[in-house]
């Protein structure tokens, strides 16, 4: 693993060279004193893009100093740029009537007295200039000055905060993350008003220059874990970061596993809860779904709603989820194993019933099962990818026409339809879609083993699966914790949720502060 990282790391410098060649300037290049030259260079580098807005004007009373403001149309808040940058520069700068000022003095004055923008930064490198410009800042250039002011004026059209669609809740807050990193982090900060909530931002992706934010609560988070996360993020060297999923694959502990080892959520309250437990959230600009690490298996069976319901109900629901998870994974496989390998274990009346249904079915049971399971997967995929109105038609055709007709035509037995439907419904109770996906695949493995080796095969499958799962780590934390290793203290909020009286949230065993200390 290390050697792989090393190889990737070595290539970084070569890659930089490639990029520089493509962009057409060295990353170390600085601004030239000539405004014309600078503007020309910017225009050339951006390929004269239509959304690049450059307004040139004269600065100060003697109208001697040529100046320009540059921004990308649509990325900036037009109000802000218009009123507080360009208007100020054109109108308020008229009080400057001393023509003996050097461009340097002028620039400093403009930054300190004229630009009434909360954040202005002085930059000299061209690379930085582009980076600010392309992330929505307005750049102010003055002729003769080898620096530029970057005024934070980000804005433009963004999707507003809407209700969560994946993780719905009855009693909880009705907010979900949006595509904007700043909006997302602000949603969390509104919930944790502690100076210890820290956010570290950095840019990833050589071309996309995507901003990502690492959020954690200083003091609760384990420094080792934090360093590990930062280290892994720093090792990412790719051209594009399309969203949190591309980061996820880079920083995950184990790629060859069906289980999700990184948690994702669209709810700010879930992120808040996880931060308070000592986890780390990774926000990626452009993705409404941040990553939360480290993830444990049990976490995927917990929903936000769990903490808004009474503890008894929550415990009951969690048990139901685990049971349906097991049923989804093994239900179909056990049915096949019993019917085709161990019919002596089925109670006589039930066996006669199943035998009666199977009398006219022309296929072996394993084939019948795979046929039905695949049909179900096809239907599900068709329903998801279709436009919503068509999706309904798909389910009607699938459920009513295919299911009913297949049974009455004697191609599949109704017992098989019942089992497929029951496992399908059970799979919908698993709250997290990543876990559902994992089980969907593992189910086929179990069906195959059951069809070939019977209960014995299921035994082999389960042992292999458990062995694999136990060996998994998510950022150094055992994936099956708090069950393996068994941590008594964390059982209060694992399968069951004891009343809040006993569970004082926060501080899982992997956090800096341990419970009871």
């Amino acid at each position: 693993m290390k050697s792989t990282w090393g190889r990737l790391f070595k290539k970084k410098k070569e890659k930089n060279q490639d990029l520089e060649d493509k962009v057409g300037f060295s990353f170390e290049q600085v601004l030239s004193p000539s405004l014309c030259e600078n503007i020309h260079f910017i225009k050339k580098t951006l390929g004269n893009s239509g959304d690049l807005i450059i307004s040139e004007f004269k600065l100060g009373k003697p109208w001697l100093n040529k100046s320009a403001s540059i921004y990308i149309n649509g990325l900036t808040d037009k109000e802000l740029t218009g009123h507080f940058i360009i208007e100020k520069l054109m109108a308020d700068a008229s009080i400057i009537d001393d023509d003996s000022w050097s461009p340097n003095q002028l620039g400093t004055y403009v930054k300190e007295h004229i630009l009434s923008i909360p954040h202005v930064e002085m930059i000299t490198e061209l690379q930085k200039l582009f980076s600010f410009l392309l992330s929505g800042q307005t750049i102010v250039l003055i002729d003769g000055w080898t620096m530029a002011c970057a005024c934070s004026s980000q804005g433009g059209e963004l999707r507003s905060i809407s209700e969560p669609t994946i993780e719905t809740s009855v009693r909880g807050p009705k907010e979900s993350f949006t595509e904007s990193l700043i909006t997302n982090t602000s949603l969390v900060r509104r919930r944790i008003k502690s100076p210890n909530l820290w956010l570290e931002t950095q840019k990833l992706g050589n071309i996309t220059q995507t901003q990502i934010g690492i959020m954690y609560i200083n003091g609760i988070v384990n420094e080792k874990l934090l360093n590990e996360v930062k280290e892994r993020l720093n090792k990412i060297d790719v051209n594009e970061i399309q969203g949190s999923n591309s980061i996820e694959e880079w920083i995950t502990d184990e790629t060859f596993t069906p289980w999700p080892t990184i948690f994702v959520t669209e709810r700010p309250d879930v992120v808040t809860g996880n931060l308070l437990e000592g986890r780390i959230a990774i926000f990626v600009d452009g993705t409404p779904i941040p990553l939360v690490v480290p993830a444990t298996w049990n976490q995927f069976f917990i929903t936000a709603e769990d903490y808004y319901l009474k503890w008894l109900m929550t415990s009951f629901l969690r048990v139901i989820r685990i049971v349906s998870f097991l049923f989804t994974l093994l239900g179909q496989a056990i049915f096949i194993a019993f019917v085709s390998f161990h019919p002596e274990l089925i109670p006589t009346p039930l066996l006669i019933n199943i035998a009666a249904q199977r009398q006219g079915v022309p296929f072996p049971i394993i084939f019948e099962a795979l046929l039905m399971e695949l049909t179900f997967e096809v239907l599900r995929e068709a329903g998801v990818r279709m436009p919503r109105p068509v999706g309904q038609a798909v389910s009607i055709v699938g459920a009513l026409v295919l299911g009913e007709a297949a049974v009455s035509a004697g191609i599949v037995s109704s017992a098989m339809v019942i089992v497929v439907a029951a496992t399908a419904i059970a799979s919908f109770t698993i709250p997290h879609f990543l876990m559902t996906d994992a089980v969907r695949l593992l189910r086929f493995l179990m069906i195959f083993l059951a069809g070939v080796f019977g209960i014995y095969g299921i035994g082999i499958g389960v042992i292999l699966l458990v062995a694999h799962t136990v060996s998994l780590r998510s950022f150094g934390v055992s994936y099956l914790s708090p069950f393996a290793p068994f941590i008594v203290n964390d059982q209060k909020d694992a399968i069951l949720r004891l009343p809040i009286l006993f569970t004082q949230r926060g501080f899982h065993f992997f956090s800096n502060i341990r419970k009871g200390k």
């Binding site: 002596e344 006589t348 006669i352 019933n353 035998a355 009666a356 009398q359 072996p364 080796f453 014995y456």
Partner: protein, 399 residues
């Protein structure tokens, strides 16, 4: 890489060393619900005649079966052979698919064979992994097992299941004849006597064989549980009927619920006592090198019917009834004991009690126990009864 190979080898051996179970499609199995064993011919080649009753699933299971011809819920086939297994295998000529034995409900033995001896029948059942040993055995009285497996039954479409259901429910509420399961019989085969419940075919077999039999309100041919066959050395010695059979249940502590009738002052057998609970306890004393059996039966009952006017509100009446009930039960048990002692059959398993009490003594008398000592043994019976309730009424409306 080495670890991967090791892993693959381990997985491979897991798969290869896993025994010999194989999958069978349900369609290729004929579910056998009952086995009948009869005496075959006189020659060794067809010593036994076996009959299997095979379930016809689509006729038994509920749900839609539209358009199909109504056929019998079960089918039976017979074949003869020198051993049971041979005879059973020979049936495959007649059946469409492989016989599947784990779901056998009942084993039926013809009386003729039972008279000649049944000791050899159970080796196959114990040895063959596809048999369970948890099904009951019954003896057909006066008919062959083949006949018994031909009789159609209403309500419960599978006749074998009907026999088991009747055995179970009657044992529970009437407690006259016990269920004799194979696993209980096998250990006793070589050790003295045992008992097996009997069934009777009422009506003609030819009529019972037709599905029309079940289409009638009153079945002209039906199966009835009747009698307890006492076996000695694997052969039927005698049959116990009704109350005599119930005596065995009292002694063997198998009594669950039953009904005992008592006498009114002027009318015989006019009061019914429901026995709600019964318990028996056997103590063996060895006096002068001779065993004495002391038995205590404790029962709890309630008055469930009176056909005469009894002052039930008085304690005295209840005490008198209790006394009468104790006497009645004692008489019943003694009567059974008498039969057993006369026939020299220790059907109650007292020998086992003596073995538990005094191992050395039992070793000494084991060989002579049934024939010499048991018939002479002194048996003391003590019955304690309590009548708890008189039902929803106290005194009857009868004046």
């Amino acid at each position: 890489m080495q670890r991967l190979y090791l892993f693959l080898i381990l997985i491979f051996s897991l798969i290869c060393l896993s025994g010999c179970w194989d999958n069978v499609e349900l369609k290729e199995l004929s579910i056998v619900s009952g086995i009948g064993i009869d005496k075959g011919g006189d020659s060794d080649e067809n010593r036994y005649s076996t009959t299997v009753q095979i379930v016809n699933p689509s006729q038994v299971a509920g749900g839609q079966q539209g358009g199909k011809v109504q056929s019998a819920p079960v089918t039976s086939f017979t074949a003869t052979g020198s051993t049971l297994k041979e005879a059973l295998r020979k049936i495959s000529h007649k059946v469409s698919s492989q016989l599947f034995f784990p779901h056998v409900q009942v084993m039926i033995i013809g009386e003729e064979l039972a008279k000649e001896g049944i000791l050899e029948l159970f080796d196959l059942i114990e040895r063959d992994p596809s048999f369970r040993v948890l099904f009951p055995i019954v003896i057909v009285r006066g008919h062959t097992a083949e006949d018994a497996l031909k009789i159609t039954t209403p309500l419960v479409p599978i006749p074998s299941m009907k026999i088991v259901d009747s055995l179970e429910s009657s044992e529970k509420i009437w407690s006259e004849y016990p269920i004799s399961r194979v696993d209980q019989i096998i250990p006793r085969l070589n050790k003295g006597s045992f008992s097996i419940t009997g069934i009777n075919i009422n009506g003609e077999v030819a009529i019972g064989n037709k599905t029309e039999n079940t289409q009638q309100i009153y079945q002209t041919a039906n199966l009835e549980i009747k009698g307890l066959a006492l076996f000695k050395e694997g052969k039927i010695e005698t049959w116990l009927e009704n109350e005599s059979a119930r005596g065995v249940m009292w002694v063997k502590n198998q009594m669950e619920q039953t009904v005992v009738t008592l006498d009114c002052p002027k009318k015989k057998d006019a009061i019914t006592i429901d026995i709600l609970r019964a318990h028996s306890d056997i103590k063996i004393n060895i006096k002068n090198e001779k065993p004495v059996i002391n038995m205590t039966i404790v029962t709890l009952g309630s008055v469930s019917e009176t056909q005469c006017n009894l002052p039930l509100e008085k304690n005295k009446t209840i005490i008198e009834l209790e006394k009468q009930l104790s006497e009645e039960i004692k008489e019943e048990v003694l009567k059974t004991m008498k039969t057993a002692q006369d026939r020299k059959i220790d059907v109650f398993g007292f020998g086992n009690n003596i073995n538990i009490e005094d191992k050395k003594y039992w070793k000494k008398i084991e060989s002579t126990w049934e024939d010499e000592i048991f018939p002479e043994t002194e048996i003391n019976i003590n019955v304690l009864t309590t009548i708890r309730r008189t039902g929803m009424r106290i005194n009857s409306y009868i004046e």
